[in-house]
């Protein structure tokens, strides 16, 4: 018995004696690699700290926190009694869903899909140096085209959904292309034209929907909304109805995220995207280096419009909860998703991947706004918070870039007045 123990003991001793040098050898080989990895990670982070991306991230965080703090203060001032409950709901956002976390996340993703696309629309135009404020009109026209195919295109059979999505994209493309044409051809500022086209699109869509031909076929006269699209035209649930039950989430979120990745590659890894960015950074330099800058401006606005149109199509074709479908109400009001795209794109610094996360945040507090209403807060508080965030993100980039200089800033502020006076005196003296 003792022999056996000794044998086992020796065996392990030998094994140990063999293992230790082996491990030491391997360790000696691994250690420099690990050190390299460690250094690389450290370098990555220290580099990342210096990049525009990090600054943009810090700026977005700063803008978000200022917006939320001001919103919370506002709530505290107007209704101190319910403030605690209201603020809890504001922060919980998605988690307020009575059907649980899963349903909440599902609803968040469902609401995000069209917003991701309008955010991408604004961000894409930004990259080419254009401010597409007309995403709303493009969204509406895309939605309208998708509705037409989704209701009237019965003969298309199983292709009806794809046809409807493509029709929405085409509608948005057209509605973005016209301001793009005006900018490229006649140098009319795209902000004015795309704003005008928000109204033209809205009135035109409402006018066409109430025209004699479409009134009976597409519109439900009892509530002045469009009727629901055909079953064949609705977006599939995919596996989401099991993953996030009770939320109505369909595969549109996958399409939206896929589009974001596609746009990222288009902008960063293709000649076309690089040319568009070159036009955005310096129109004249791009022209000098052989880029057709007018074509770039036109295509940039048109693709931007196409993205917003896709957003509208995905919204209206969504099956929603219990396959009830969505409808468009015929009112003379500009739809909001297009305008939500602007803060989203700015928060993301026009980075297509960042747009996805910025959208999740915006959808999150929008859900909070709905939940806040039952404790006596109007949901416009959330609109104000988003607008404040947009306001601060307009200059937060400048703030974060000078984060190191913030101490100097106060000194300079004191000194500024003195130097200013001196400068003026000197100049007057020269005269």
């Amino acid at each position: 018995m003792s022999n056996l123990l000794k044998k086992i003991g020796n065996f392990f001793k030998n094994l140990w004696a063999k293992i230790v040098p082996f491990v030491k050898k391997v360790w000696a080989k691994i250690l420099p690699v690990l050190k390299k990895i460690g250094k690389a990670i450290a370098k990555f982070f220290s580099n990342f700290k210096k990049t525009e991306g990090f600054n943009a991230f810090l700026g977005a965080m700063l803008a978000i926190s200022i917006g939320l703090i001001m919103g919370i203060l506002l709530m505290w001032i107007i209704k101190p009694d319910n403030a605690t409950e209201g603020i809890t709901r504001l922060i919980k956002g998605t988690l307020n869903n009575p059907n649980g976390i899963k349903a909440g996340i599902g609803v968040l993703l469902l609401n995000s899909a069209p917003l991701i696309l309008t955010g991408l629309s604004v961000a894409f135009a930004f990259k080419t140096g254009l401010f597409n404020i007309g995403a709303s009109g493009q969204y509406t026209v895309g939605l309208f085209c998708a509705v037409l195919v989704g209701i009237l295109g019965d003969s298309l059979g199983s292709f009806q959904w794809i046809a409807a999505v493509l029709a929405g994209m085409a509608g948005g493309f057209l509605w973005g292309a016209i301001p793009g044409l005006f900018k490229a051809r006649y140098n009319v500022h795209e902000v004015i034209t795309s704003i005008m086209f928000n109204y033209v699109g809205m009135y035109l869509v409402n006018g066409l929907l109430t025209s004699n031909f479409l009134k009976t076929r597409v519109v439900d006269g009892s509530n002045n909304r469009t009727i629901k699209v055909d079953q064949a035209a609705r977006t599939a649930y995919g596996f989401f109805d099991e993953l996030f039950p009770n939320s109505g989430l369909d595969i549109s979120i996958l399409i939206a995220i896929g589009t974001a990745i596609f746009i990222y590659f288009l902008l960063n890894k293709t000649v076309f995207g690089r040319e568009l960015k070159a036009v955005g950074l310096n129109r004249h330099a791009a022209k000098y280096s052989g880029v057709n800058e007018k074509k770039g401006i036109f295509l940039s606005m048109a693709i931007s419009g196409m993205l917003a149109g896709l957003g509208g199509a995905l919204f209206i074709l969504g099956p929603n909860r219990f396959n009830l479908g969505n409808a468009y109400a015929i009112e003379n009001v500009i739809l909001t998703p297009g305008f939500d795209g602007i803060p989203i794109a700015l928060l993301a610094s026009s980075n297509p991947i960042g747009v996805v996360f910025a959208t999740f945040f915006v959808s999150h507090i929008k859900l909070a706004g709905t939940a806040m209403q039952s404790v006596g807060f109007v949901k416009e508080i959330v609109d104000i918070i988003i607008a404040i965030i947009l306001y601060f993100s307009a200059f937060s980039l400048i703030l974060t870039q000078n984060l190191g200089n913030i101490k100097k800033f106060f000194h300079k502020f004191k000194r500024k007045k003195k130097t200013q006076d001196v400068a003026f005196e000197a100049k007057e003296g020269d005269e």
């Binding site: 009319v188 009135y203 006018g207 109007v378 306001y391 100049k427």
Partner: protein, 327 residues
């Protein structure tokens, strides 16, 4: 026709005032795309004040005085709101187009939020009685009944205030030291600074004036055309911006541009009062005339801009932040 002209005045005057508001800001070198938001805030302040005062019967015997007070309040509201743009554009040197868009969103949300907060039943509509503000004068009624109807019976005091603003601002821009200095800050701020003009101060004055007139214009827009304000001015601030560009940043040309667009806009609400259009509607029942006339002002704007944008005379430094230290 008389009805049409009387209606178009309701659109021309606010367009004129708001475009002049934008002119002061752009002349000083700050692009003011927030005109829409300024109008909403001004209209909210003015109509809310009128609503409350009419409820308690304040100044019931002197409605014109009440109107003037509420116009001043609307202006002050706009000026305070525009200081947000001034801080962003002048002090922080941020992107003015994005900042202006943010203010447009804040303006719309804030007006609805405040209306819901301070009105019974969370109502968005702020209702008011605008008939008491009509001039209702019988001046010239015997000799020129049409003129009397347009300018004295149906008209509001705002018509004359608008024309006064036009005349005063023309004089200020072209005939005063202040006006020349303001334009200098928008054309070539470095040159202005080199002769001892405080560019920051002039740009601030430009933005605040713009805010005051923009807010006032918001009330002037909301008052005659409806009996309640619902937190929106229907893209009117942007139309005013287009009027400003069409008017080439010159007060008198802005006035002509405002007449042009005001008439188009009035046509979209009064087209049925013309006999020949009514005949057309009967003849072609399938043509959606309502939609066409609604879209027409926007399309006309775009066409006119396409024709005039090539030789645009915008203030050269408009939209470019001024940095004192860099000089």
């Amino acid at each position: 026709m008389v009805f049409f002209i009387s209606q178009s005045l309701f659109f021309i005057i606010p367009l004129l005032i708001v475009a002049i508001a934008g002119m002061f800001s752009e002349k000083s070198g700050t692009v003011n795309i927030a005109l829409e938001g300024l109008m909403v805030i001004g209209a909210f302040c003015g109509t809310f004040f009128i609503n409350k005062m009419q409820a308690i019967g304040f100044l019931e015997g002197a409605p014109q005085l009440l109107l003037i007070i509420s116009m001043i309040l609307a202006g002050i509201g706009g000026a305070i709101f525009s200081s947000l743009l001034g801080f962003l554009a002048i002090n922080m040197r941020a992107n003015q187009v994005i900042g202006g868009t943010a203010l447009n969103l804040v303006g719309g949300a804030l007006a609805i939020f405040l209306a819901k907060q301070f009105q019974p039943n969370n109502a968005v509509q702020i209702s008011y009685d605008n008939s008491v503000f009509r001039l209702n004068s019988d001046f010239l009624a015997d000799v020129f009944p049409n003129l009397n109807y347009i300018f004295f019976k149906q008209a509001y005091l705002t018509l004359y205030i608008g024309i006064l603003i036009l005349i005063v601002s023309t004089i200020v821009i072209y005939k005063t030291k202040f006006g020349s200095r303001l334009s200098a800050c928008g054309e070539h701020p470095e040159a202005a600074q080199s002769v001892g003009i405080n560019v920051y101060r002039y740009r601030w004055i430009g933005v605040l004036l713009s805010g005051f007139l923009g807010g006032l214009g918001g009330l002037v827009y909301a008052l005659p055309i409806s009996v309640s304000f619902e937190g929106t001015v229907a893209g009117y601030g942007f139309l005013a911006l287009a009027v400003l560009i069409f008017g080439q940043w010159k007060p008198m040309r802005v006035f002509i541009a405002a007449i042009f667009f005001g008439m188009f806009k009035a046509l979209s609400v009064t087209f049925f009062s013309f006999d020949w259009i009514s005949d057309l509607i009967v003849q072609f029942p399938n043509v959606p005339f309502g939609t066409i006339f609604r879209i027409l002002p926007y399309l006309a704007t775009m066409l006119i801009l396409a024709l005039t944008s090539k030789r645009s005379k915008a203030p050269k430094a408009s939209g470019i932040p001024f940095n004192f230290k860099a000089n």
